[in-house]
Symmetry: D2
Subunit: 358 residues, 4 copies
């Protein structure tokens, strides 16, 4: 038996722990394990696979990043290549993967990734590759699972940052706007806003009204509390307004400033108070995983090997009711799990007085 492991998409704390558990669990069954470097990138090179041993994965569970490397633009079905004039085009190079897997006798692929990676994984399944998926994204927006690896760390980092920011906000009587990740789903913003009892939390699922936020801040002021904390997901937008998401995609114009900076200025103007904004950015993606993420990542990695061992392919291993379950990758591919507006976290936010922009 020989398996390959791939880590796709953006960074998330816990990737290495998942690689470690999958590698050791497979090696201990007597299997061979290789890693795909830089997100399907190495498939098209002379050295497509990196052999993984007990030594390769020693001590990596507590490390951020991925020892396999990662890359943008590595979707084999839309592989980007540069045209002479410097612009980019894409083409389907997925056959190379299938052939390379056959040549190297890869029996199964452990695909660790988010919705994009599962979309690709599902297409690879259709081309005959046996895949078991592991749900990874700090955004927590994969359907069918209680939680994805990386999310708890991202929320913890955001919580620590807001705790730090709060003391200055209070001493200096300011509005502090903290922009966290979450382009399509507001999980990080909601959880970090809740854990810090912030005053206002803005998520993509609920278009906000500047007037409602201003009203909330004025109410707070009236109770004698002279500062306010606003947590905003990067993908939150004003009712009828535009998105302020920073774009680094090739060919797209970059929007100057993000929603955090926009809110800083708008709220300063509307309330007459001093305001500051902070963009947590890559702080949420990198570094040592929380204990919780180390644990679920190790459990996901080992569970992927058990699924392969049982021939239960084309599944995503997920955490539900604190146990590992398996769901078809096809049920997940191309979907985004938004925060349900009737979820108990939304209710809790409202119950304890957090304004959600309405």
């Amino acid at each position: 038996m020989k398996i390959a492991i791939n880590t796709g998409g953006g960074d998330a704390p816990g990737l290495n722990a998942a690689i470690k558990a999958a590698t050791i669990a497979a090696l201990r069954k007597g299997w061979e394990v290789v890693g795909i470097q830089n997100g399907y990138g190495s498939i098209y090179t002379d050295t497509p696979f990196l052999p993984l041993t007990e030594e390769s994965v020693y001590g990596i569970a507590m490390k951020g990043g991925t020892i396999l490397g990662a890359a943008n633009r590595s979707n084999p079905f839309e592989m980007a290549y540069q045209i002479k004039d410097g612009t980019w085009d894409t083409e389907d190079r997925s056959d190379v993967i299938v052939n390379t897997f056959r040549e190297h006798n890869i029996d199964a692929l452990v695909a660790i990734g988010g919705d994009g990676s599962m979309f690709i994984a599902n297409k690879l399944v259709k081309k005959g590759i046996d895949v078991v998926g592991v749900p990874k994204t700090i955004d927590n927006d994969i359907v069918g699972c209680d939680v994805t690896l990386g999310f708890d760390t991202a929320v913890s980092i955001a919580t620590e940052a807001i705790d730090r920011i709060r003391t200055t906000a209070k001493s200096h009587q300011r509005i502090m706007v903290v922009e966290v990740m979450g382009r399509y789903a507001g999980w990080i913003a909601l959880h970090a806003g809740l854990s810090t009892s912030s005053d206002v939390v803005l998520i993509p699922e609920i278009p906000f009204s500047l007037d409602a936020i201003t009203r909330k801040i004025n109410e707070i002021e009236d109770t004698g509390k002279k500062y306010a904390i606003v947590v905003v997901a990067e993908g939150a937008k004003e009712k009828g307004g535009e998105l302020f998401v920073r774009s680094k995609k090739p060919g797209q114009a970059e929007v100057l400033g993000g929603i955090g900076e926009h809110l800083e200025k708008a709220l300063a103007r509307k309330t007459g108070k001093e305001a500051r904004s902070l963009v947590l950015g890559h702080l949420q993606r990198g570094g040592t995983p929380s204990t919780y993420d180390r644990l679920i990542s190790l459990r996901f990695g080992a569970a992927a090997i058990r699924a392969i061992d049982q021939g239960d392919m084309n599944k995503l291993v997920v955490l539900r009711e604190n146990s590992i379950r398996r769901i078809p990758i096809s049920e997940v591919a191309g979907k985004v799990k938004n925060v349900p507006l009737e979820s108990d976290t939304i209710l809790t936010a409202t119950d304890i007085g957090i304004n959600l922009g309405k």
Copy 2:
């Protein structure tokens, strides 16, 4: 509407967050909120209740301990009292609670506690008091819920400690035995042992064999790794052996040393290596809750008020599939949730080469 909040039993990080959310959620409904100080202790005094306001709970979500205080020996059905000769006896004084609640027009009780507290809560229900429970214990051993408040922090503290210990174990080529809490259930030991990829994990659910552990350590030695980490729950015991749990109960003789110290000596003798032990003790119970525990504690607290608001009494609010559910307190009372031997965490431990004492 007027509610009382009680925090019972041992300390757990997150108690204050639960108190905060319950208090604010109730106050915002226009209810009155009081706290019972020191675990039913104040019921028998002149000032049975402490009024709780927005100000009382400001900023407490990130603080360890409980602003209500706690006490041992405060089971109203077996209230301890000292006899003339200095020894202790107990008697049922639960009627006083029922009467005091009536006198003060308490409509419902939010009981935050572990299996012991739920056992008491269930008896109070039978005496006609409306109770909603919140599951709290660092030991994670309450049935019916994915996780209890305090557990994630305890596992995180133990993980950090083992990470620290490991570097010295490695530099000095020692066996390090780390004793964690868990008198009846091995959740903390298993999760902390897993997150740190420790070599041996011993839990109450699986009586251990010293020979098996020695064999494992010798095997490690043969691979060139000159140190070993052993994580042991305080309630773990040798096959056919005795318990080494420290006792502080009145009237009982105190056992000298615990299982950690016992193992340190036994393993040093059997392997000929240097060994050291460390008892984490109260470090696991106190201090700032992890972000995860802050979050679920706030969610539990607010959910308890929603249950009361809907008249859905005598339930425990629990976390399942990352959502709040309610289960009858009677289903929980007096039971302990052990680590299921077929759970994926046990499988993962074995998959990645952790020895469980067999």
Copy 3:
């Protein structure tokens, strides 16, 4: 004996610990202690002083911010006021302070602040007020002392952030630019760059050359390391180039983007690699002080009271050779302590291969 405590200028972790130690040390001598709220701001109101008791300072040593509040534009010698047309002017209102101190029988002032605060303190001394200063600034740029309160925490926060950023930089093979505070002095950038063995560190004391940085990054690339970490102080500038410091001063135009963003773009262009920047901003100022800052803040606070008790006025208490000494405030006022170019930290940076922009 009656003393007043003032905290001036920007936030720094440790302010509350200094307030606590000064307050308790004074109270235990039987003195009266009051705080000036919001940086000399309350002097001009009806309630100029906040009485400080053991209870006011209970548990604050580990908290960020200042319980006294802070304010910009509160220099009594140049107090800002708004003219009819909305613009601002300033005037000398320092006599009000002297008179208010006399009316309230304030015998001495503990002025906790940075170079700006010491400049003001020195002027107050000349007007007859007895002052003892405590050196506070995350920037560490007060002359005459080994270290100022707040600096160790700021360096620690920056170090943690860079550690986190590094794993993503490595996995994604990027240049990461981290902008830290330090408008005139590069202490934070140098120390955080050193502690993280970053590749390039840019400080105001050494104007940098983009070509030199590009050369360094290309050299790294040649050794097979595909990422680079650049730490830059906000006040660093290119040789012959302009400053990119963000300005929030009234009446000044705000520069769009800072040096971090500027470098991100310039280095991406020059190296052809992906680059990202992160501005740590207020994360460095707020939140719980490090243990080191808690300690020196408590020592500074208590030392200020001993100086007053001995009648040794108009001194700044400083840390030298791990002991408290006193130096005249007049020696400090209006001066900035830059990183000496021959300091061992600069030598160490060079010794271990860090490029300083040359």
Copy 4:
């Protein structure tokens, strides 16, 4: 030029950072660098030296322990060996070191260690070996320097632990006794007790009176505060009483329990309150160094190479006034730096109401 690096004695966070800086600084000068494994232990084996490269030291600055390993009983002047009957004896084997250094053309030795290591280093100097020392010990008891590497981390760990313990002590109204390291000097206990504003701090330099401590706890009780924190150095002893230091030395009887446990029992008996004790033990020695320790360790390591480069041998590089200085090893060897009773930290402790056992 060829140098050897040795790390001696107990573990301390920062050792690896010192090794890293020394190695890189030397390699960049074109020198050869080797490490002595397990504290002079490998000198007597076939592979006395481990070559150190940029790769050997990559990423180690933030890791605890020492990549060179450590060992007890490795004093070359009193090398322990086991006699037939199982007991131990020692003999002077230092000539082997001198000869091995000559054979391998070692020009100088960087000796990273505490008072014991400097005692040995001084003897090696007399035998003609050129040595530069780096001051390492969590105990901070080396004379002539402001601070040793490892101390800041140990104090930080102890501070965090006491912060955690405090919340339970308060909720459960207990006396908590925290035993920290410090056999001969009370630096850790004093600094950690100060940073946490503990109620009682007991250090070896000041023999304590149980009556004085009891009196202090009763006074606290009278003010309405129902708990107390006692921090005790392992080497603290009662006036006229015996030492409770745990001994692991071969041939010595092990004392059951330490000073922490002794105090727990004595104070419970004398005050009638519940008491608990916690021994921090190896938690203080292992794991990631604090930012401060990373920094000074890197500075020490690089400074040692500069000293060798300048031919300034037989010196200890020390930190004074936040700069690196050099003092003769002979001035340090065999001495212990106790906490001066007139130091400002002792004064501060007293000023803010900490009882020192008198």
